[in-house]
């Protein structure tokens, strides 16, 4: 394969979702979920994700979500059983008048599942996402993430929340830097101190302006993450940036609220489409990675071993 540099490439990200189409999906899902007394839920979720991916288009080719309701249903059952077991232990210790131990088990159990949920959600989502037949993948290590998480939680508690900014950034750097798209590596090198200052500024200006600044704060957070995200293939690189502005986030939010209010909630489909299209159409990629030369690196998941499959979980813990 040729590996010489062809100079800057053209990248075009577009969102083509239509409110009327998404509304159809939501209503059919709603009907089926009601008829099946809720059992259809994982399938409904798969249908929605599939649509949202399929209308997100990079250089004329859509992203594909290949996950199925059946897979998500299995993940859901696992999580459900975990919580049933946790509650059973809690009630057992309560019954034995050892409520302190019961509470520790309950809260410990809830905290313990969070890094596992992040790991599982990324493993699952990435392995089921593809573009031009090339899969995404998440190569993070479960025990490393758990360690990072425990360290972060403890330091956040000890510093009465101040370390929270560093924790969130570390977590995001770790997860994003372990995402692959074929032989393209993702990299996130955000800095906890910058994030802390951004939030400090955002918090005080929001207080001073009686909440109005919150939209500009939101813009700063989006830009912060994108500015520190890059994609690498050999010595080729792509960087992300965004043209969202506080004023337009403000307008978007107000109009979305009005739509929801005046349609009694039914305008939800249009609200999602407006929001997605706002974010994606304002996203820009610059760099020199040739999109025609990405090669497949991730396994076909139907060959995945049992150990791998047990990792897969979809809990919407996509940060």
């Amino acid at each position: 394969m040729e590996n010489f540099n062809n100079g800057p490439q053209e990248y075009q990200l577009r969102f083509y979702g239509k409110g009327s189409e998404y509304f159809g999906i939501i209503i059919v899902n709603w009907l089926l979920t009601a008829v099946t007394l809720g059992l259809y839920y994982p399938w409904a979720k798969a249908n929605q994700l599939r649509y949202l991916y399929s209308v997100t288009v990079l250089n004329d080719d859509a992203f594909i979500f290949e996950g199925t309701g059946k897979e998500m249903f299995k993940g859901f059952i696992r999580v459900f059983l975990y919580f049933v077991a946790l509650m059973a232990f809690f009630l057992l210790f309560l019954y034995l008048n050892l409520s302190l131990i019961g509470a520790i088990i309950l809260y410990g159990g809830i905290f313990a599942i969070m890094p596992l949920a992040i790991h599982g959600s990324y493993r699952y989502r990435m392995s089921r996402t593809s573009w031009r037949g090339i899969r995404f993948g998440y190569r993070g290590d479960r025990s490393e993430l758990v360690q990072l998480f425990i360290k972060g939680i403890l330091l956040t508690i000890v510093t009465i929340g101040i370390y929270g900014s560093w924790f969130v950034v570390d977590l995001r750097n770790y997860v994003m830097s372990h995402v692959r798209f074929g032989n393209i590596r993702f990299k996130s090198n955000a800095n906890g101190f910058d994030y802390f200052m951004l939030n400090l500024k955002g918090f005080f200006l929001t207080m001073i302006t009686l909440g109005i600044y919150v939209f500009w704060w939101q813009k700063d957070i989006i830009n912060f993450y994108l500015d520190h995200l890059s994609f690498h293939k050999g010595d080729q690189e792509v960087r992300a940036s965004s043209t969202v502005s506080g004023g337009s986030i403000f307008a978007l939010t107000i109009v979305n609220m009005l739509i929801l209010m005046f349609t009694f909630g039914l305008g939800y489909a249009w609200v999602v489409m407006r929001t997605m299209s706002y974010v994606i159409d304002n996203l820009y990629l610059d760099g020199d990675i040739e999109l025609d030369t990405i090669s497949q690196t991730e396994d076909n998941y139907t060959d995945a071993t049992g150990e791998d499959a047990s990792d897969y979980l979809d809990m919407d813990f996509i940060i």
Binding site: I27, Y41, A62, R132, G133
Partner: protein
């Protein structure tokens, strides 16, 4: 025979490769001319189709990769028309193809169903299920709330004794012992708990202008206890909550919004219905005790005067709009003949309570 060219992605590299596809509409046969591996033929129903924006992805079997992307609109239309005419479209796809008007109609019917369940079915469930809850539970539930509440309040013990004395001269049709408590609070209000505790604020005592009004207040609150209104409300709210979360498990957040709206409106009108019941039955209690029923209208006039001051929008209030209550009570008083006489004992106790 329709011909078009598509883009083949082999799942090894992201490189798009041109390829030729032909569709024979009579037999439903698709001929693929693959870039490297040569040609092969498949029947249209052996191929899975997925519409992605303006394009369609074709793949053989169910594995998502490799696939062929086609964006020739005429070719796509012909392919779908064939599958539809032979009934090969998956049922889910057919439901999506129903179009916006049908989807709106489905949404409308589901909403109507939810609303009907809320308005007609849940009140019935609340009414019936309360019978299953032993009265003991009313006491435990009410008492634990009372203990919690009274810990933060100042009880006026002299007035409490007088109020219980006042109540002892009335026949309130109560099935369980009623326990009246006067609490020092400027709020013009009173409330009843399911265990028979009736809390009256000094604020409302100050506003009342006659023992008939106080008798009206006590008989109103006693009806709430006698008819187990709190427990009925609890059962209805619980049933409503279970209905929403279990039956329609929230797929899109729509149900949360819709449900919350209907629920808050409904629970307002539930309580309005209960207030009306308490007003009307309270009126009957006054009549049975030979007390001037105008006490009830007087009581409401005091509440109305108070409402004017704080200006709570009527639709947010848990009680029926006070004007409306005054109107229906007035109508009832005029439609029936009431015999009433002076009650010097009550008058005397009332004077003491006013001090």
């Amino acid at each position: 025979m329709i011909r078009t060219s598509g883009t083949y992605f082999d799942g090894i590299s992201s490189e798009p490769r041109r390829m030729e596809i032909a569709f024979e509409e009579g037999q439903g046969q698709l001929d693929f001319e693959f870039p490297l591996s040569g040609s092969s033929s498949w029947h249209a129903r052996e191929v899975s189709l997925e519409r992605l924006g303006m394009a369609v992805h074709l793949r053989i079997g169910t594995a998502p990769i490799p696939f062929v992307k086609i964006d020739d609109a005429a070719f796509i239309t012909a392919l779908y028309a064939y599958l539809r005419s032979r009934g090969h479209l998956p049922w889910y796809q057919r439901m999506l193809n129903l179009g916006l008007p049908v989807h709106l109609a489905i949404a409308g019917s589901l909403l109507a169903l939810v609303a009907a369940v809320y308005i007609y079915f849940l009140p019935w469930v609340g009414e019936k299920s309360v019978v299953l809850i032993p009265e003991d539970y009313d006491n435990t539930f009410g008492n634990s709330f009372y203990e919690e509440y009274i810990g933060y309040s100042t009880v006026d013990s002299t007035k409490t004794v007088d109020l219980n004395l006042f109540a002892s001269h009335l026949k309130l049709n109560n099935t369980k012992a009623l326990n009246f408590v006067v609490v020092q609070d400027e709020t013009v209000n009173a409330f009843a708990l399911p265990d028979g505790h009736i809390v009256v604020f000094t604020g409302i005592l100050e506003k009342l202008r006659g023992y008939e009004e106080l008798a009206g207040l006590l008989s109103h609150e006693a009806v709430h206890v006698n008819n187990r209104h709190s427990m009925k409300m609890l059962c209805r709210n619980l049933a409503g909550y279970l209905f929403i979360s279990a039956l329609l498990s929230d797929v899109n957040g729509i149900m949360a919004i819709v449900g919350e709206n209907i629920r808050s409106l409904q629970s307002l009108s539930y309580s309005r219905q209960f207030e009306k019941e308490a007003d009307m039955d309270g009126l009957a209690v006054l009549a049975a005790n030979k007390i001037d029923p105008k006490g009830m209208t007087g009581l409401l006039s005091r509440l109305k005067a108070e409402e004017g001051k704080i200006n709570v929008p009527a639709f947010l209030s848990s009680h029926p709009i006070t004007g409306e209550r005054l109107a229906y009570i007035d109508t009832r008083i005029k439609s029936e003949s009431y015999v009433h006489k002076e009650m010097p004992v009550l008058k005397e106790i009332f004077e003491r309570l006013k001090k």
